[in-house]
Amino acid sequence: MSTLENADQPQAAQTQTPPPNNSRAPSLEDLGLTPSQTQSDPQLQARLDKRAHMLKIHQRLGLITAIPMIASVATGFGAGGKGTSTSDRWAHLALGSVTGDLYFTTAYFAIFAPRIPGTQTRGPIRVHKALAWIHGPGMILTPILGAIAFDQKSKGEKVHGIASAHGAVAIVTAGAFGAALLSVSLKF
């Protein structure tokens, strides 16, 4: 390609013949690629497929979980306080239970998705994972506190003691869950 050196003299665009299929054309062996870069790994592909499948379910269930979670928080404002009806509390309890079941099913698909060896976690997924340390314990604590509060209200008592933190813990949990969802959805 000695005449390439005339490239600083622009000319009309050129066309060329189809890609080669001859013995002089370079081969992959000529490029000095390592076997680890060129060898097919069906087992890794199967692992990646399973991981992607599980994380897809995780993603969908996470979105679905957000619906009863929002409804639980909304009904929670009516379930507490002095003048609440029994039906409000039961509705809140039912929504909370559905949220909890969906949440832990969602978490299962993330926790048990196959890990890929040698992968260093980078990017928004780090925020997503870090927030799980807030909403995970929150989703354990919230129903426990809610059960205590429900029991106290059912006895005609004012919600007191540790159960009075139920609302605050639930809001922080829902906030962390929403932030986790957004962290992998929107580009910051």
Binding site: T3, A7, Q16, A52
Partner: protein, 180 residues
């Protein structure tokens, strides 16, 4: 004595002509794919392509290969998902083959027919415009390959149930060095 010298000279000349005229080695490269999603615009970059060009009888055959997993989008989760979606563990390399006329460098732009093997499929892109610029002993080549997911039978990955766009243009920036 003169006869022997002439025979020797002819033999040397014949063997010299039988060899490839020139070889090109890919020295530096940046390959960038672009993916569009209603909520995201993301790019993955690789600098790990290897390439070689061999010229003979007025034509230069080029081969470029890049490991699929070498593309970095800054998000390890996305990168793993990309490798899965394009079957990158099963087909770990993207290879590009093309043939250019030996005097292609006399133009500022060359239109190349590219044969690309990716995700276990082969697609041909005709007349892809590539810009050439001389930089000392090197040549800098830039251009964009108008790749699409459907060309390689790749199911579009989705986020929040919205799939990415079919178009995944790949920006190519390469510096080739002549080896004599």
């Amino acid at each position: 004595m003169n006869t022997k010298f002439l025979i020797g000279l002819l033999f040397f000349a014949a063997s010299a002509f039988a060899q490839a005229d020139q070889q090109w080695i890919l020295q530096q490269n940046t390959l960038t794919y672009h993916v569009s999603h209603p909520l995201h615009q993301s790019e993955g970059v690789s600098h790990e392509a290897r390439g070689k060009g061999v010229c003979h009888q007025g034509q230069c055959d080029f081969l470029i290969a890049v490991p699929v997993k070498s593309f970095d989008s800054g998000d390890s989760n996305r990168d793993l998902h990309m490798v899965q979606a394009v079957r990158g563990a099963q087909f770990p390399l993207v290879t590009v083959r093309t043939r250019l006329p030996e005097d292609a460098g006399s133009s500022a732009t060359v239109h190349a027919d590219l044969e690309i093997q990716f995700a276990g499929q082969t697609a041909e892109y005709k007349q892809v415009p590539l810009q050439l610029a001389k930089d000392g002993d090197n040549f800098r080549i830039t251009g964009t390959v108008p790749a699409t997911l459907s060309d390689f039978k790749i199911d579009p990955p989705s986020l929040l149930t919205f799939p990415v766009k079919n178009e995944i243009p790949v920006r190519v920036e390469m510096t080739w060095h002549a080896e004599k």
